[in-house]
Amino acid sequence: MKKFFGLCFDFICSAKLNMILIVVICTVVWCTLSVMYGNYVYYTDSYNMFNDAGAADDIYFTAVVRSRAEIPKLRERILAIPGVTGIAEKPYPCRLPLSDDPDTDYATFLRFEEALYRKFTPRLIKGSGFDYSSDSLECIVTNKYKQPGVPNNVHVGDRLKFKYTDTDGEIAEIVFNVVGIGAANRFYPVMDGGGSASETVSVLGQTSAILLKYSPLTSDALDKVFGDPIERRGVDLYTAFVETDGNLSENELDGIVEACDRIGSAALGSVILANTKTELDSNMKIYAPVFMFLSVFLITTIVCLITLSIYRYAESYTIWRILGGSRLRVVAVIFASYSVCIAVSLIMMNIILHIVISGSIVDLEIFSTCILDLKTTLPAYAAAFLTCAMAAAITNSMVQGHDLRQLNGKYKE
């Protein structure tokens, strides 16, 4: 293998300019294609989740509230609208320390009520999720445990414990059972989008927060240490999915939307889905030709550069042939050398997307949804390295092959 890589190294050194060009061009093209693919996945993932939850006939409702006391009144008014069957309210955030250390950062939690949890059940990679029939304190850890204080390698069945000083000045302790591990880089119904929320990506979003099962016990305990977020901020956005009777006509649904609009701001789920589709289609109209152009450009560039390098270094290849290189062996070395360059460009792409772009852009979600997902980048890595490995293995077997004394009479006359 060392000899094979020696030959590759020799080839790369002899065609430095070509190799640099390949790395630069591939890196730029990979980055552009990845960003476009990321945007596509970002929209389609949220669209599918929204649609699969059966939210097309729901109404996404938002209203500004100035105290918690306003919420039951809002709820009553919405439920009084004919055709409305229920409300799934947004998960309320709270922040708590998961360590005794007073300097520790606080972890963020989202409290899920049963209605919303049933509608948008998170995709878990392990565990069974919340059991709302029991009073146990349960949590689901998401997004590779990015919250401060969450230990590494959390498993289903582990217990997350935190101590706090409650409003009476006493030290209290709450222990949550981990009942699930959420899939990384997935959408959750964070429902931060206001009345102008016109696309699924404004309603669903990524979160690294720990999901909590809502129960009065949990709520009391958390309110004691965290307080009422609405009172603290003075204002909050109340958001909810207003559920309707599935047999309503379009006009009846429009009537409910109008009624909700009089209370706050409302948008029909099917409209949100249609807006998302329009936005995606409009993006694809720009991306498709660019994608085609870049794909053709990349293939043409690679073919041209390899052809040019073969012409440019024709004398070297003649020498290689004279010294014992078969055509296939020479081709394998060229192929493997360019594969190394392509692999390098993939690494560069990941460095650029992970460190440079994700560190500076505001809209990180577009990238973090899929591009920074190892699952997405792994096939690219695997393909590049598999190409190298195959070329290396084939060539190596030939380099280690027979000499005349080992031909075993195959060509003996």
């Binding site: 020696g6 020799d10 070297s316 290689w320 004279i322 078969s326 005349l404 031909l407 060509y411 006359e413």
Partner: protein
């Protein structure tokens, strides 16, 4: 068994719509340890014959047995392995890689053979020593004289311990004194190491140093 046995070999090249017969009914037998000169004018087919013997060129008809093995039946890979393990080439234009040092040039063929990676340096140094240019090992070939370059080319031909060295006008680019030196090295390799050497030349003085001379004219081979 002769090292090389060629019988009724024919080789043509396409020229326009027709064909040019470069080798016609060639019969040649070369024994192990022989030093043979192939003489002829430019375009007579000397280099074509050398390329066929060196398995770099194929042929149309006839047979070519190398050490009893039928070259006609060999795949490109098998021919490459034959070159890597059995045949060393020395060329008028040296065919060295200019961006490499002498040692790197000499070591290069071993990357195609079965020599373990760890032994490559040592074998390259041994070959440079045999060719009398060990002290030039770390010099780039662009900084060398013609004679030194040809010695490096001979060292490279030797490094895989071949049974046959094919030298195509090895002294063509050298002055008389240097040419004699180079022929001295090839003669020594033939006599001391028993390596079969075939030298293509149009220089009668060079040919006279060899044990046997064959002539080629219009693609036909004639014994002295």
């Amino acid at each position: 068994m002769p090292l090389i046995k060629i019988s009724n070999l024919n080789k043509t090249y396409p020229v326009g719509k027709g064909k040019f017969a470069a080798l016609k009914h060639v019969d040649l037998t070369v024994e192990r340890g022989e030093m043979l000169a192939v003489m002829g004018k430019s375009g007579s087919g000397k280099t074509t014959l050398l390329n066929v013997i060196g398995t770099l060129d194929s042929f149309d008809s006839g047979s070519y047995l190398y050490n009893g093995h039928n070259v006609k039946k060999m795949t490109d890979g098998a021919k490459a392995n034959l070159r890597a393990s059995e045949i060393g080439f020395v060329h008028q234009d040296f065919l060295l890689m200019n961006r490499k040092t002498a040692a790197q040039n000499v070591a290069f063929p071993l990357y195609f053979g079965k020599t373990p990676y760890g032994r490559i340096k040592k074998l390259a140094a041994d070959a440079l020593s045999k060719a009398g240019v060990l002290e030039q090992a770390d010099k780039h070939v662009t900084d060398m004289s013609g004679g030194q370059k040809q010695r490096v080319a001979i060292a490279r031909a030797l490094v895989a311990k071949p049974s046959l060295i094919l030298a195509d006008e090895p002294t063509g680019a050298l002055d008389r004194a240097t040419a004699d030196e180079i022929m001295g090295v090839l003669l020594e390799l033939n006599r001391k190491n028993g390596i079969t050497v075939i030298v293509v030349t149009h220089d009668t003085e060079i040919a006279d140093m060899c044990g046997r001379i064959v002539y080629i004219k219009d693609g036909r081979l004639m014994e002295e």
